[in-house]
Each structure stands twice: as C-alpha cells, then as structure tokens.
Symmetry: C2
Subunit: 88 residues, 2 copies
C-alpha cells in the first residue's frame, strides 16, 4: 500500500475510530524504511507520485512479533482491569 491509502484504509476499516494522520504516519514509514523493515517503489499515476511500501522479510518478522506482543499486552491488561470487551 501507499501512505495516503493507509490513512484512508485505517479510517475506513476502523469505522472512523482510529485516525492515523499523515503527520504521524509518514515519519513512521520513513523510520521503518531506514530500519530495513520496508522497501519503497515509486510509481507515477499520471503526473502524481505514489510510494508503495512493501514489507521486507525482516519487516514480516517484526510485524508478526509486534502483533504477538500486542496480544500478550492485551492478556496482561485483561488480568489487571478484568472484564471483557462489550458488544463485539
């Protein structure tokens, strides 16, 4: 995907609950790229540029690990605050 598309997809798929702004996203993408977790491919659409980002093998490992961390964190939070998500 490309940057702007990510902001729109996050907004759409999260039903407007998560607003990932460009000011937060672009610096993050650049850092991930600098860390070797993403590669970019510049594509011209007419006269407008897009930068498509793709996960590197290291990026795939990293995201898998991060998601595991996230679920581990959720389990821990569950133990602390108790309860379960409502209306799911």
């Amino acid at each position: 995907m490309y940057g702007y598309e990510i902001t729109q997809q996050v907004k759409e798929q999260s039903e407007g609950k998560i607003l990932l702004t460009e000011g937060a996203l672009y610096p993050a993408l650049h850092k991930l790229e600098a860390d070797g977790l993403l590669t970019t491919e510049r594509v011209m659409i007419g006269k407008r540029m897009r930068k498509y980002y793709t996960l590197t093998p290291a990026g795939n490992t990293a995201i898998t690990d991060k998601i595991k961390e996230f679920y581990s964190f959720l389990e821990a939070m569950q133990l602390i605050i108790g309860g379960k998500p409502k209306n799911t």
Copy 2:
C-alpha cells in the same frame, strides 16, 4: 493504593508482562492529582511514608471513560489486524 504498591501489583497481576516503572508512574500520579482525578492521604508506617491515592468522583468517571475508549480501540484494531481484506 499507594505508588510502590501499584508498580508491584501491575507486575504481579500481569505475570511480569507489564513493568510500570516508578519514573513513569509518579509523574503520572502527580498529573492525575493536579487534574483533580485523585486525592492523596499521607500515612506513616513506622518512620516510612506512604501516599495512598483515591479516585475522586471525576476520577471514577474518567477511568470508566478511558476503559470504554480502550475497548473501542481494541474493536477497531480487531477490524484492522484481524480485519477483512477487500481482495485476496
């Protein structure tokens, strides 16, 4: 509860997965107090001081709201991470 107790309880109840350090906790407690969400009661245990924190009514409202926000965020994350891709 008091500050140090919170760090220990979080560590214990989260099975060591969440480490809430004092450097993060104390400034946060002081801010919550300044914002009127907590009140403190100083108690001497022998020659050692403890500061017990209690939620104010505003604090109770705030924590309830925050937990709701948290679950709302989780649902949104579920849609994105475990989400439904358009294609593939």
